[in-house]
Amino acid sequence: MSDHDHNRHGHHHHHGHDHSELSETELRVRALESILTEKGYVDPAALDVLIDLYEKKIGPRNGVRVVAKAWSDPAYRERLIKNATAAIAELDYSGRQGEHMVVVENTPEQHNMVVCTLCSCYPHPVLGLPPVWYKSAPYRSRAVADPRGVLKDFGVTLPETTKIRVWDSTAEVRYLVLPMRPEGTEGWSEEQLAELVTRDSMIGTGLPKQPSEIA
């Protein structure tokens, strides 16, 4: 595969382009929206509401709250492992691309990583829309065969003895990783703990921040 193909699929390729000239795709989408509006199939104001939802309300900060609560409240952690959909709904997160949730817990023995090799399945209510790398050919192809190599791309090295479990989201079940609570956080509040949770740690391609990193 040439660099060209790799860049086309693995990365955003309109980055930094000249905004004074509209690309063919931009023109095509604009024209399509006006056709569908004129035909009465879409209301552009509804599109604005949708975009606002996914840019401002649905995002990884929701998942951060779930993880921080699980770290500080053992009863909640237990409900989350037992019935993730219901426990996540307790915090008022539910719906599209998160209808059937499963939370998988990292332990010193097992590290979990989530992928969708066939498309881009991702738990929207808790993590928002997936980043470009999650939808890219390099991640989708390698996560199931060489997860340690993928982790290296993220600067993460796990002990050789840690078992790695990869969850390929091939159905409508969506997976959220519950990372291990960092050591040295005894007595921390839920709000403090939330600062340690990263998006990637909830996908399994990263680890939570250490207390020293936010001091």
Binding site: M1, R96, L118, C119, L129, S136, R142
Partner: protein
Amino acid sequence: MDGAHDMGGVKGFGPVVPEPNEPVFHDEWERRAFALTVAMARPGGWNIDMSRFARENRPPEDYLSKSYFELWLAGLETLMIERGLVTREEIEAGKVLSPPKPGVKPIAPNEVTPAIRRGGPTEREPKAPALFAIGETVRMKNIHPVTHTRLPQYVRGHLGTVELNHGCHVFPDTNSLGNGEDPQWLYTVRFDGPELWGKDSDPTLSVSVDAWESYLERVR
């Protein structure tokens, strides 16, 4: 279908390159293409399995040369043309050339948030008991349908262990064709790394897929 979208285990795509502080969308057209696709599903009358098939059902070179939202756009155009909502000529001309299909109602702004919060659960009431038990060894069928399937090539023919039972779920292989939901038991089946990738596999690796009952074969 055995297409370019089925990427598990394919070599040569290079490293994963995360983008620091990545925005949700990179361009205005991505926002609009995303929103148009989500907003057209109900008025257009297609389901999630039909949309997935519309995106993946194309020559490998086309699939691999399009960015993610370019694929969404191409899929949306296909679905609308198939249903007579717009014509290929209208899309190429960028303007309306034919009357709208009657009876198509748009999603109103105040319907958006409740619809997203509700989502589209796929679990259905079981009609028969599950055929496979947790802990049972199963073999994934070696099937190669030319239509939509959610059984990735890299697990076909391999032995795995049933680990979870998620209840009965809408079956994508029929639902994508408009042939009904045919709900089936859905299992998480786990495979050891060496079973999938041979003796050079990371020995600490195991991989699971979520698989409908008709993808599974009894071993004993």
